[in-house]
Subunit: 309 residues, 4 copies
Amino acid sequence: MSPASRYTYLGPEGTFTEAAIRTLPEAATRELVPMVSVPAALDAVRNGEAAAALVPIENSVEGGVTATLDELSGGRPLMIYREVLLPIAFALLVRPGTTLDDVKTVTGHPVAQPQVRRWMGENLPEAAWESAASNADGARLVQEGRYDAAFAGEFAAATYGLEPLVTDIHDAENAETRFVLVGRPARPAAPTGADKTSVVFWLREDHPGALLELLQEYSARGVNMMRIESRPTGEGIGRYCFSVDCEGHVSDRRVGEVLMGLKRACDRVRYLGSYPRADEVRPELRHGTTDEEFVEAADWLTRCLDGRV
Amino acid sequence: MSPASRYTYLGPEGTFTEAAIRTLPEAATRELVPMVSVPAALDAVRNGEAAAALVPIENSVEGGVTATLDELSGGRPLMIYREVLLPIAFALLVRPGTTLDDVKTVTGHPVAQPQVRRWMGENLPEAAWESAASNADGARLVQEGRYDAAFAGEFAAATYGLEPLVTDIHDAENAETRFVLVGRPARPAAPTGADKTSVVFWLREDHPGALLELLQEYSARGVNMMRIESRPTGEGIGRYCFSVDCEGHVSDRRVGEVLMGLKRACDRVRYLGSYPRADEVRPELRHGTTDEEFVEAADWLTRCLDGRV
Amino acid sequence: MSPASRYTYLGPEGTFTEAAIRTLPEAATRELVPMVSVPAALDAVRNGEAAAALVPIENSVEGGVTATLDELSGGRPLMIYREVLLPIAFALLVRPGTTLDDVKTVTGHPVAQPQVRRWMGENLPEAAWESAASNADGARLVQEGRYDAAFAGEFAAATYGLEPLVTDIHDAENAETRFVLVGRPARPAAPTGADKTSVVFWLREDHPGALLELLQEYSARGVNMMRIESRPTGEGIGRYCFSVDCEGHVSDRRVGEVLMGLKRACDRVRYLGSYPRADEVRPELRHGTTDEEFVEAADWLTRCLDGRV
Amino acid sequence: MSPASRYTYLGPEGTFTEAAIRTLPEAATRELVPMVSVPAALDAVRNGEAAAALVPIENSVEGGVTATLDELSGGRPLMIYREVLLPIAFALLVRPGTTLDDVKTVTGHPVAQPQVRRWMGENLPEAAWESAASNADGARLVQEGRYDAAFAGEFAAATYGLEPLVTDIHDAENAETRFVLVGRPARPAAPTGADKTSVVFWLREDHPGALLELLQEYSARGVNMMRIESRPTGEGIGRYCFSVDCEGHVSDRRVGEVLMGLKRACDRVRYLGSYPRADEVRPELRHGTTDEEFVEAADWLTRCLDGRV
C-alpha cells in the first residue's frame, strides 16, 4: 500500500494500542504498522511514510504518556484528528493446561504491574513478577516457557498460542487509556458539537502569576478545561510548558477567543487540533458564550463604532 | 443661529459650567444657552434644539453628578464626545468697598459649602452661611444687598458688578470638576492615543459574583478602569447598574473585546462614547494587548482553522 | 432627658426620616431630636449630646446619600448598629376642600420630584412645580397658602392641618429608602444569622487592578457583596474610596478573614459595623465557608505544624 | 546500625541518586541502603526500617517522577524534610584503552537517552544504543564486555573499573534532577526564610472551575507556585489530583492561610512538608503579605470585634 493508506502505531502487535487502532472504522482498509516507540511512530508521519499514527496519550492510572506529550509539543508540528478511549482490563495468559496453582512466575509491561497488583496479592500472593518490554513481549516469553503467565490484553492470546486463564483483571475501576490519532497539519476535523481542542503553551519567563492568567482565558469565556499537564521545557528546574485539553472546537467562537487570548499572553502556543470527543458529551454552555451571542456582540460593537447605539 | 450651532449647558450664566464651556475651541462660534437643569440641557439635544450640551459629571470633592449619570444611562441614547477638566477655586465676591470685617452673611451653592468650610472657619468664623440656588444666583443676591458676600467663580464678578475680595479659595488640594460634552449618537471622536471610553452596564439579576466577572473583562485585556460608579436601577434596594470609564478607544482592539465581553455577560450595556482624555495621558500597554498583537493572534487563529500551524 | 436617651435624626419633623425612626422599638422611650443636616445629626452623637442618630444612607431611586457616606468615612469614627427600610410613597397634601382641578402649583423636596414626575404628567399635567427645602417644609408652605399642594409622607398631613388628596404615589415600583442608626464605636450588634457588615476602604495609590483584587477578597471566601459605592477621596479626580456592604457578621469567620484581607491589601480600611439585616434574609453559604469549616481547617493547620498529618 | 541511622535511596549504587544522597551532611554517619524501586525505598521508611529515603521527584528534562509523586500522595503519609538539586551530566564510561572510534555499542538507562541523543548524533553517529535497567547497570554491562560504552555519572567509573572517556555530556543546558529526603510525619524542618511547601490536593468532583479557584488561594496571598503537576486519581480519565510546591514555610502566615483555604475548598488535601530550598532563594514578598502585616490585621480585627475602631 502507499503511505497515504498506512497508519503506524506504538507496537508491538498484540498490545492495547493495536486493539485501539482496530476500533477505527477505516482500520480494515489501512496498512497498520507497529513501531518500536512513540517517536518512531510519529516520525514516520512527519516524514510522509505514513498518513497517521495512533499513540497512547493518557492513562487513568499511570497519567500522561510523556513521550507522546513531548513529541507533540516539540519537533515538526503534528495535529490530533481523533481520540480513542479503551477500557483497560488484563487477562492472565497461560500455556494451555496451566492452572492458577501452577503459576509461580508472571510477567508483563511495567505499566501493567500497578494495575494488577491488588489482584495478584489476592490471587497469586506467592508468584514472582518480572517485567517485560511490552505486554505482548510478555506473552511471547510465556509461549517460550520463560514464565508461567503474562498479563496482557485478552486479544493477544491467539497470537501467541496461549489461553486466557482469568479475564477482566483491573485493580482500579474505570481504568482506561486514551489514544490519539495524529497526522500532519491540515484542516481540523469538522465540528460535531461534542469536540475537544488541544494546545501546548509556554509561559512568559518573567511572570509568576502567568499560569493563573492563562487559566482565566478559559474561564472568562466559559470554556471548561478537561486536562492540564505540566511538562519541563528542558531549560532547567522550574521551567514548564502546559499541555491542555478543553471542551469545544477551534471554530467555536468562544474557543477561538481563548486561543487568541493564549496567543497574545504566552511566549508561544502550539495548536494541536480539534477533534470529536470519544465520549460524545456535549458541553453545557454558560449564558453569553454561544456563537450566536458572540456574533450579536460583534454586531453591536460595529454599531457602537458607527454611533448607531 | 440654527440648532446645529447651539450648545446648551447647565446654567445659569456665571457658573463654573459656563467657564468650562468657554474653554472649548468652538465656543466662540456657538450660541451658548444656559438651561435650568441637567435634564433640560440634555433634552434640548435629544429634541434637536441644540447640537450638544455641556454638563458636569464628576467633582473631585462631591463625587458623581447623579443627574448626569442617570440621564446618560436612561432615556433616549446620547453619547459623550469631549471632556473638560476645570480646577475649582472660589472667589469671595463682594460689593465694591466691602472689607473682610464687613462680611457677616455669605451665600453660595450648597455644593460650594464643603469646599470652602475650612477657609471660612479660619477667615470668617462669625459669618452666617445661607444657601443659594447656584453660585451665580448667590452673586446676584449680593448685588441686591441681601448678603454681604458670595462664593462663586472669579469670572462671575464682572457680570454682577462685584469685586473679588479673596481669590483661589479651595479647602481641598487639586479640587476639580469634570464636564462632558454630550451629543446625539454618531461616530465616536477619532482616536488620539490618549482616549477614554464610557459605558453603563446592568448585571444579570441572578448572579451574585457578576460584578467581579465584569471587572475581569477589563483586567483580562489589560484595560485600566478609571472610574466606577454604582447607581440604583430604580427597581428596589440592592439593584444597581454601573457607570464605568476606562482607558482607550472603542476602535482599540483590546477595548472592543472588553465591550463585546460586557455585551455577552450583561443583561444590558449602553455605550456612552470614546473621546480624548482631558489630561492627554497615554496608557501603558501590557504585553499582549496592542492592536498589532490582536491582529497577529487573529491571523494565527485563521492559520489554525486552516491547519497551517 | 439625658443624652443617653436622646436620638437625633435628619429633620425636620414630618419627613420620612422621622417616620423611619418611629419604627424603632425603643423610639417611644427616647427623646427624638430633628437636626438640620446629616452632619449635624452625626456630630451630636460624636459630641456625646445624643446616643445615636438615624440618617438615610441609600434610596432605591436616588442612590447613595453622599452626606451620610462621607460623614461615615471621614471625621471621628462612628458605627452602624441597625438599619431600617422604609417603602417610599407620597401623598398629595392639600388644604381641606381642595380638589385635583384646583391644584395649579405643587411643591416638595427636590428628591421627591423624580419619584412623582410620571404621576404628575398623567394627573397634573398643567401644574407648576417649585422645590422646597424638605417635604415637611413644602407642607408648611401649603398650609400658609403659598402653594396649592405638596408631595410629602401621608403622616405629615395632621401636623400641618392638611389632608391627603391622593396617597401611595410613587413612579417606581418598590421604591424604598434605607436608613441607618449610627452610634459611637462599641461592640457590634450581636449576630443574628442574617447580618450585614459595612466598611470603607481606600486603594493603595500605585495599583491599577487593586479594586479587582479587593473584590476577590470577598469572592474568595464566598462572601456576597450587597452594595458598592465609590466616593471621591477629595484628593483629585480619579482618586476614590469604596463603601461596601456585605452579607454576614464580623464574628463570622469568613467575614473576619475578608476584613483582615482588606486590612492587609488596602491603604486604609474603616470598619463601620455589623448589624441585623432589615429584610432578615440569611445568606446561602458556599461549601467551605461555614464557621465549622474554618475551625476544622485551622485545626488541620495546627496538626500540619506539629507533623500530625 | 539501627534503623534510626539508616537512609534508603533509589538504587542501585553508582547512580545519580547515590551521588545526591552523598551530598547530605549527615551521609557520612548514616547507613546508605540502595533499594530496587521508589516504593521499596519509601516503604522501608513507612515500616520503620529506615529513618528516611532519598528519591528523585523531578527532572528538568524528563519531568516529574511519577512513582515518587504517586507514593507521596497515596499510602501511609510521609513528609519531605529536605531537597537536593543535582546537575545532570553524563560521562561516557569505557574499559581502559577504548577510544571513541572503538565504540560501536552504547548503553544506559532509558531516561539518559534523550539527554545525550544530540551528543551521540554528533560524536557517535554510527553507534547502536540499547537500554539498561539503570545507568549503573549499564556500567556493569560494559565491565562485562557486553557493550563498548555506557552513559553514567562520572562517579560510577571507579566502582566498575571503567574510565571516563568523555565527561560533562548533557544535551540540555542546566539539566538537573531534584531529589527529596522523605521521612515519617513529624514537625516540619525549621523555617530558614528560603523555604518551600508541598501539598497534594483533590478537587471536589462537581466543580469545573475548581482548579482556578485553588490557584487563586495562592495568588490572593501573594504566594508563588513553583511547580504544579496533575496526576490521575485512578478513578477514570479526567479525574486528577494536583501536586504543588510553593514558596514559603507552613509557619509563614500567608502560607498557613493558603493551606487552610485549600483545606476548606478541596475534597482532600495532603500536606507534604515545608523544607529549605536547595537554591536558597528568598521570596520577594508583596505588600500586605508579611507575618507582621498578618498579625496587625488580626489585631485590628480584634479591635473591630470590640468596637475599638
